[in-house]
Amino acid sequence: MIGKLQVKKTIFPALLACLLLCGCMGQVPSEAADFFAMDTAMTVLVYGEDAKAAVSETESLIEDLDRQLSIFNSDSEFYQFNTAGQVLLSSQNKALLEQALELARQTDGAFDPTIEPVVACWGFYGEEKHIPEEAQLQESLSRVGYSHLQMEGQLLSADISGVKLDLGGIAKGYASDRAVQALKDRGVTSAVLSLGGNVQVLGAKPGGKDWTVGITDPLDPGGQLGTVSVRDMAVVTSGVYQRYFEEDGIRYHHIFDAETGYPADSGLLSVSIVCPSGTLADGLSTALFVMGLEEAAQFWRTQPGEFDAIFVTQDGEIYITAGLEGVFSSSRSYEVIAP
């Protein structure tokens, strides 16, 4: 009799403890959305009680930014600049353009938001990509150069005609920065955004582990060459495999060198940047690709602690900057670039 009572007294708390334990091992609610924006496929995954609303808000925010930054949307300020040669910028767009110009100055034009005429000349805005006539390319190239841009208050203009903007090189990174900020503002602590080759993670995974982000193998774009373990970080790759066409066995990719007007031939196949800012990661992945390994490594040394990078050379060799030791893991061999 005493035994039965004892069982009854202990069974309830014990059961409760058991259920709680099992409950804790269960899954945190999550919500995901797959959609197309900024000319790429995007996935947003948010954890937490508020996930459903947060995901749909993120999707609309990114779609709004797509309209705002697109140079093909006749309502956008950048479209208006490209057609009229000048425009009054909203403070948001002005801040973004200033970020782009700062990046252009820092990288000595390896990232250049005025590359549009060259990209257009190669047909990369449409279906018909092609090698341009040399004279046409030179004319386009003469209208490229961020130093032609002039800002007086909110008024953006250029000192020669035909200068055109394309913020595509940082648009996705900027969008993920803005989306992550909006998620933070509504109290979300765990989320991952994949905007094409742009990944940005908020916080850690539910349970406190780091996120594992794969780095695409440029020689086998369906596979990966390794992973990085990160939290509160953007990981962005620019590579020759993303948009390209081939003619006579030669690949012409979408990362243009504003010096030559040709796809950058710097000895690299891809550059991945790891840093907290999506915008910076996006712009730097382009810039460091254009620079090539040596110059990019030197640039990294001048910016200690700002970002880290993974390079894949045309020989298929992998280089990582020292800050990624212990963060990057791969079954393949790789070299570490020392500070």
Binding site: I2, G3, Q6, A33, F36, L193, K205, V213, T216, D220
Partner: protein, 120 residues
């Protein structure tokens, strides 16, 4: 009597916990892929359950992707999309990018990638 009750209770609790753990939804199929078109989920396929290869033709605004599903594998094997990125991607790999056909708004990806949370 007291000791026996404790043992009984212990065994009962262990059985209960084991039961709950077993019945808990498993991490959803790491061998399962889903096919989206224009953000809409069209199909979910557990590749480990596929016994013989078959193809799924998907047409989007007059343009077609032919998806080949085989035991343990899925790929876009033919498309008239112009870019051919989807075909050149080859089979979907664990830890790799989803298969994407931008012009046809097609995405093929793991329900839960066994290796990574995202790919850059």
């Amino acid at each position: 009597m007291k000791t026996r009750s404790w043992i009984l209770l212990f065994v009962l609790l262990m059985a209960l916990c084991a039961g709950v753990l077993l019945l808990r939804p498993r991490p959803q199929g790491q061998t399962t892929v889903c096919i989206y078109q224009d953000g809409q989920l069209l199909e979910t396929i557990d590749l480990s359950q596929v016994e013989a290869p078959y193809t799924i033709p998907l047409t989007w605004k007059g343009s077609t992707n032919e998806i080949t599903v085989s035991p343990g594998s899925i790929a876009v094997t033919w498309a008239d999309c112009g870019c051919q990125t989807c075909v050149n991607h080859g089979p979907l790999q664990p830890g790799g990018m989803p298969i994407i056909c931008l012009p046809n708004r097609l995405v093929i990806k793991w329900v839960q990638d066994p290796v990574v949370d995202a790919v850059a």
